[in-house]
Symmetry: C2
Subunit: 363 residues, 2 copies
Amino acid sequence: MPKAPTVYDVADLAGVSIATVSRVFRKPHKVSQATKDRVDAAVLDLGYVPSGSARSLAARRAGAIGLCFPDFDGIDGGPAPIAYADGKVIARLDPPEDVEPSGNLYISEVMLGTEIEAWRHGMAVTIAVARGERGNEIFDNLAGRVDGMVTLSQTVPEGLLAHIARRIPVVVIAGPRAGDDYDHIGTDNVAGMEAMTKHVVDVHGVRDVAFVGGPADSPDDRDRFEGFRMGLLAEGIEAPSEPLLRGDFTRGHGRMLGRRLVEAGPVPRALMCSNDQTALGILDALLAAELRVPEDVIITGFDGIDASEMSRPRITTVRQPMRELGRAAVDTLLRRLGDPLMPPQTRTLPVTVLLRESCGCLP
Amino acid sequence: MPKAPTVYDVADLAGVSIATVSRVFRKPHKVSQATKDRVDAAVLDLGYVPSGSARSLAARRAGAIGLCFPDFDGIDGGPAPIAYADGKVIARLDPPEDVEPSGNLYISEVMLGTEIEAWRHGMAVTIAVARGERGNEIFDNLAGRVDGMVTLSQTVPEGLLAHIARRIPVVVIAGPRAGDDYDHIGTDNVAGMEAMTKHVVDVHGVRDVAFVGGPADSPDDRDRFEGFRMGLLAEGIEAPSEPLLRGDFTRGHGRMLGRRLVEAGPVPRALMCSNDQTALGILDALLAAELRVPEDVIITGFDGIDASEMSRPRITTVRQPMRELGRAAVDTLLRRLGDPLMPPQTRTLPVTVLLRESCGCLP
DNA sequence: TAGCTTAATGTATGCGCATACATTCCATTG
DNA sequence: CAATGGAATGTATGCGCATACATTAAGCTA
């Protein structure tokens, strides 16, 4: 790859000044057609592509927004995939046990939403996962190259986030306000879980309901538990002050909790889980112990990931509008860029309760 | 947001030169501890975050790779999502008819794979969809701000791609070599479809097999049809020179084809489709016509999207390692950056045949 | 102690572009 | 025909950083 041509090269070849070359790209209407044609020809001839770095520097805007996630799954991917040359035939007829977990639908959907909304405003999206020991560095790096940042809560330490926020606007997804000054986008965890709880009690007539939580420091988990309690209280049922058990939001941990429940004696009539992965893990364990779902035990989840629809029975859950989260975050970010003095925003998106087999609503 | 501090500000406050500030970030080992401490303090004090644009410009590398997709779904998203303020409770108990289509698992997975491999090499990923009339401009813009580009074939016109490739390395996913000089990452369409064909003939004893193709200009489709023919020939069955029908890879079009098949008279005993969406559409139509799958008609797909696992019956299909595609693309891209003179690479990733209900393998 | 080496830091420059401002060229106008 | 104004283009500068090279200080050798 020979040295890339610059505005100077194009200007020389077209016999114009660099300002004119720049105008052909940025303000075409200010250049005569004849000149434009000569410049275009030179551009094609030389294979010129404007440098985004130089442009961003000179224009004082990056034209991109950053999206940074924590490393939910601890995926480091291992070495790059094995490949083989053309002609060698490999096809397996195995059952799909080797299919990788669908991973983070959540992240994927937020990404898609982010991209769509960014596109509508002519911006690119730069993504990075603050993964590993250099996670903070990754975050910092990303912040330096974008006009604003969307991040999930808990991605980096508060101090770093505050540091970044002095330079560019930051929108936090899924973390409720904690007295900070960031803009926040959340979903209605409380209302969702409250509605789900009432459904289980009202429609299925169950009063022996327990809550299986997630990490104690998760704001989402806290809100969902709060919704659970409100649901119970509204039904005149005494509400516990703590979840029956806590997992770490992974399916594996959910399985462990399920086994523990089975061993500990009679399993509650209904288990309301703080997320889908936990619900799926518990389902795995209960089915393995020959319990029937929903006949013996009702299970519900939260999130609405695709995997919740692929289990048998399928999981009744509360769907978060994941793609909308991304879109709303970008929308808010761009508003903030337009009006830096606007007071801190908090937007809460509505959730949807999805009734399926695991609560007994579908056969 | 007041004017962001620069190296100069930090240097002044710390009483050092800008070179030293820069070194604290880039070559910390070349700075004495005492100096480093003073600089760090100034950085925190001022809220300094290095400008990525300036860094990229000066260092002549962006530290990011680009990922550009075509607009598969024609999603423009419409206006940003409705939100409501805190406290207002909305939760619905409707069936999930409003759940948005799972969209592009394919794209999502490639994104995730790309990000993982980029992370392993300390690079960020900038994504953009070449969507709408300004698609080419988006692509061009993206190209200017990254060190290399991963793109799906058919994303932009060949001329533009060639133009970009003069400046930065380009890796094309899913498009087989067409005599061009790009690096390519593909999946083994031929072997996958051949194995699937043999399976249907051998295991299920079906000889009345037809192929439902996709767009005639799709290289993937061409290869899959070729695999189909090879499978038949290997079984001693005469192979057609053209697909029985062609769709456009969408489910809607698949439904139409399905209805047409039903009307046209006896439906072949097995329909092998060039992608999952088409298979799902045909399944919809056959079930609507009261035909039984797989008892009356066997249906198979290709891709392994999640939706293929959520239908009833679930679709037997050939799974592409989508995440691995992204990883392999980045891997190849970085090799290319390391050795620009390396001959053009082509890597083909193995596929997996997933046997499920729609061919009769699972009850 | 002169001469040499190495560590630490500073100086000066350029990366490639956008843009404020200056200049040139015409077409109008009175 | 001189004065005016707008369109098209050019000149000059700075965006914020990395880095080659220069400089200084300090330790070490013979």
